[in-house]
């Protein structure tokens, strides 16, 4: 896999979370505005009907019923005139645009529209109920009904019925038509009342939360970019690892085994051609070659440990680190390994400590050439923080120098430590060794 960097393509505006949040919020605000208008109109209509019923009942009891006369029921002109003048002066005011008085047979005893007087129309069930039981009823007028033929110019009106009684006890139906021209105004008034609570509230919510969403979105984008970078680094590290293993095999074990092979071939030839074979010399040579083969085997084992991390849960972090530093010890380096509290660590923390120790030991052996190497693992008294310290007295390096393109180790480890909620610090000076310290939450 080749090395290099990848860049995240910029998302279209409509795919950005903040834009989507604001758009959805505005759509919801518009919907709320609409539903508030609908509810406001409905509420206004209910209020208008309630008001109309109250008005009708009041007029029926205080104005109309006291003015009813038997002459009115008989369509006597004088009674009609007096009742008409009363209705025009005290009833036909404000929202009241039509007045009708019905008898139980559906005859219009009186109307402010004289052409309706003495006309007969069938009463509907609601009107019959009010006539029979009293009370009042209200509804939006159905102008298609025959009784409303002359009421078309009134527009949309509310019909309200109330029962009244003639002086002879005959029940009559007092009907008012009330203009609902102010219904829209009343709905607007209610809408204005609710708008700050609904639409305004939502807009305020949008205003307050949009910055939060923006920040969260930025964080999510940054986290995604970090993950993507780590993946790239892991892939690049894996590539470099394979190259390093191949180089180690070629420069180390392969060379040793080749040398051993040549030596053995020479010895085999000598045993056939030399008459006076020095058996003690032969034995020394064979012991030396056996030592070389064991060293090669040890090198291969260390390489295997590096290539394939041990089963940390099975063998434990301490044993795995012993294997890790074995190669360094074999090469003559003074190694001190101190592991305490490793059993209390979580699996992810153990793996991170192992991975960090592996990288640090490898760097020390390969680049530092130290005489002493110290690896310490511990957990603080509260059992909350785990610490790994790898110190060597080798060649050291300049911490501030730009890492080589192949140097992914410490950079990647620093990211891994941060992901785990910890820190990785490096102290090193050219010619004065290096110390790498990892601190992470223990669980």
């Amino acid at each position: 896999m080749g090395t290099g960097t990848t860049s995240r393509a910029a998302r279209p505006v409509w795919q950005q979370p903040v834009v989507q949040f604001v758009v959805v919020g505005l759509v919801v605000a518009v919907f709320l505005a609409w539903i508030t208008g609908v509810l406001g109109e409905r509420l206004a209509q209910e209020q208008a009907i309630d008001d109309a019923r109250s008005t009708t009942t009041l007029l029926a009891e205080t104005v109309v019923e006291p003015a009813l006369s038997s002459g009115l029921l008989d369509t006597q002109a004088g009674d009609l005139d007096r009742f008409d003048r009363l209705v025009r002066s005290r009833v036909l005011r404000g929202e009241v645009v039509r007045v009708k008085v019905w008898d139980a047979n559906g005859r219009i005893v009186y109307s402010d529209e004289p052409r309706l007087i003495d006309q007969m129309f069938p009463l509907d069930a609601d009107q019959g109920d009010v006539l029979a039981s009293g009370g009042s009823d209200a509804e939006v007028s159905d102008l298609s009904k025959s009784e409303n033929t002359l009421d078309q110019e009134l527009g949309r009106v509310l019909e309200v019925y109330s029962r009244v009684e003639a002086p002879n006890g005959e029940p009559l139906l007092f009907e008012l038509y009330l203009s609902d021209n102010n219904l829209e105004a009343r709905a607007d008034e209610l809408y204005r009342l609710f708008r700050p609570l609904t639409v305004g509230g939502l807009l305020l919510f949008l205003l307050l939360t949009t910055p939060l969403v923006w920040v969260l979105s930025r964080r999510a984008d940054a986290a995604a970019a970090d993950r993507e970078r780590l993946l790239v680094m892991a892939a690049e590290a894996s590539d470099a690892e394979r190259r390093r293993v191949a180089r180690d095999l070629h420069d180390g074990v392969v060379q040793d085994l080749a040398g051993t092979s040549f030596a053995l071939s020479g010895m085999a030839r000598d045993t056939l051609t030399t008459a006076d074979l020095d058996r003690s010399a032969l034995r020394r040579d064979l012991d030396r070659l056996a030592t070389a083969v064991r060293r090669s085997l040890l090198g291969l084992r260390s390489l295997l440990v590096e290539i394939y991390p041990p089963n940390l849960e099975g063998v434990g972090l301490g044993a795995a680190l012993q294997d890790l530093v074995a190669n360094a010890r074999e090469s003559g380096m003074q190694v001190r390994l101190d592991v305490t509290g490793a059993d209390e660590l979580g699996a992810d923390v153990t793996a991170l400590i192992w991975r960090t120790a592996q990288e640090c030991v490898r760097n020390a052996v390969r680049h530092g050439g130290p005489d002493h190497l110290e690896v310490t693992v511990g957990v603080d008294a509260a059992g909350r923080m785990a610490t790994l310290t790898v110190t060597d007295d080798g060649a050291g390096f300049n911490v501030d120098a730009s890492p080589s393109p192949d140097s992914f180790g410490l950079r990647g480890l620093r990211d891994l430590a941060r992901e785990a909620g910890g820190t990785l610090t490096v102290r090193a000076l050219p010619g004065d060794g290096a110390t790498v310290r990892l601190e992470v939450p223990a669980s």
């Binding site: 002109a77 004088g78 005139d81 007096r82 008409d84």
Partner: protein
Amino acid sequence: MQHTTKFTIAKIGAVALSGVVLAGLATPALANDADVIRRGSCAGNSDWKLKASPENNRIEVQGEVDSNVNGQTWKWRMRHNGQVSARGAATTSGPSGSFDVRRLMVDLSGTDRIGWRAKNPATGEVCRGSLRY
């Protein structure tokens, strides 16, 4: 009376003819096509006037007495199809010593009969007139 259907040229002619016959007692006059006006003399020195006009599907009735004396109180009464529609009292005023009252009556189907009566209780003079509309 529904003036849109009833008020015909023939009827205007009939009213005018009856006015000629009753000259001296009640003189009909026409203000416009829809109005019906009657005038006449009371029992004394006063004159009366009765006028019916269409007004928003109703009949506006105007009764008037002209006695040429200021400060007289008259009791008046309007009838509609024989029923008392309105009544009251009024006092003459102004340069002409007159009063007038206006009332709206329901315009019923068919011909409406409208009567006008005024009486001066002090002198006993009575004015009386009528019209059909």
